[in-house]
Symmetry: C2
């Protein structure tokens, strides 16, 4: 286990270095491009931060495969061996228009097993780190598992398209809960589930949106599944639910 | 103007003292009661913080009238003279269930004129303070007025009942914008409009929800009105829009 602990410490240092670089670049004008729509953005900082993270991961784990949002990594068709999944800036819309409420995320899977995860809420300076074997920390201190609250006992993280269009019974789900919250970043909202601020989060996600979060959530006794309860596939996109056990059970009975 | 500047400095110190007390009390078990529903909460900290704020305001401005959310202050039927409007904990649901994303707010109106305002995002430690005569500061440093972006150029602050039920064309408004954000606290969302993180915020609000925000927003060149464009009344509740000039213009054309 020593190697994994060393890797965990090294990756936390990498995330901190990445944060410092992102903060420094935020002082300059951003270069913003649209990917698929005016709501799907990428900036020079997404690219430079992905380059940095991929470079650092290659140094730490040269034989690994790396799946990265902006395409700097490898073509990854299998979860065999070491697979790192990287989102250099999650919530790029917030990054561009709020300079706040965005996250950097990295997950490591070994032969498909969730092993290490990192979510960095950059502006709040909160680094969630670890995994099932090394434990989960927030800024280096052990993070307590959130209480296993039912859906009716907590706030629920939503995405606006699912809420407005009532996909997956999102309106019923949030009505049973104490209310919806919409932050516009999977990383931020998943970190709020880890912190016990939300009893769950449901959104249409791509692998890099939830790879880190799944590792951390499962390490804390939370559950991660597709919206119909089936296991998630780390190489495909879909509606993903991250929740307490009790909230998941209530939601699966609705969906 | 010296008196108003002294009052502004004194009130910032009061807000900081209030924050320290709230943080200290958060270490103990909260006493939570429902007011009108399971989503309308009040805690021992709302009460104790209101007591503190009202006491401090009475010391600074003995002849003033004070309208306070939890009823500690006066029956206020007129905006003549000095009227202070106090929300000791805005976003009590977040305070109870997230221990995050709540605000303390105080506004001073003199003969109906917005004069001083304070919004304290307690956990992010961001104190927005000032007014049209003394200027607006964030943690003591001058706050730049946000850019006059149009609705389509920014994110929009919504409340979940208005979004889900499409009241006041909220779905169309957020579709024109870059997307809705829902934080569950008027104080937090209004502070995001002040900071330029949102181009506007529309919600059903009571006087203490927007009294401070109106002072600060108008001081920064933002506009505050009812959803149909009529002036707000500081002694009644209704759908209130706080936005950039251009976003307001676009929204009024829709509504």
């Amino acid at each position: 286990m020593k190697d994994l602990e060393q890797l965990n410490q090294a990756m936390q240092a990498v995330m901190q270095a990445a944060r410092a670089q992102v903060l420094a670049k935020m002082g300059s004008q951003l270069t913003v491009a649209e990917k698929t729509s005016r709501r799907d953005l990428v900036t020079n900082v997404d690219h430079s931060n992905e380059d940095f993270l991929v470079h650092e991961i290659r140094s730490l784990d040269p034989a690994a495969h790396i799946l990265a949002e902006e395409g700097t990594g490898d073509q990854v068709a299998s979860m065999q061996g070491h697979v790192w999944i990287v989102d250099p800036i999650d919530g790029t819309m917030n990054f561009v228009h709020q300079r706040n409420h965005f996250a950097m995320m990295v997950g490591l899977y070994i032969d498909g097993e969730p092993t290490l995860g990192y979510i960095y809420d950059v502006m709040a300076e909160k680094l969630y780190a670890g995994g099932p074997q090394v434990g989960v920390t927030l800024n280096g201190k052990p993070l307590k598992a959130p209480a296993d609250l039912d859906l009716s006992e907590g706030l629920f993280g939503a995405s606006s398209p699912l809420l407005i269009n009532d996909r997956f019974h999102m309106q019923q789900i949030t009505t049973i809960s104490l209310g919806p919250r919409i932050m516009g970043s999977a990383g931020i909202q998943i970190s709020q589930v880890l912190a016990g601020e939300l009893v769950g989060y449901l959104s249409y996600l791509r692998p890099w949106d939830f790879a880190a979060g799944r590792v951390l959530a499962e390490s804390l006794g939370l559950v991660v599944s597709q919206v119909d309860g089936r296991p998630v596939d780390m190489l495909s996109s879909g509606a993903v639910l991250i929740a307490t056990k009790r909230a998941q059970s209530t939601i699966l009975a609705i969906s």
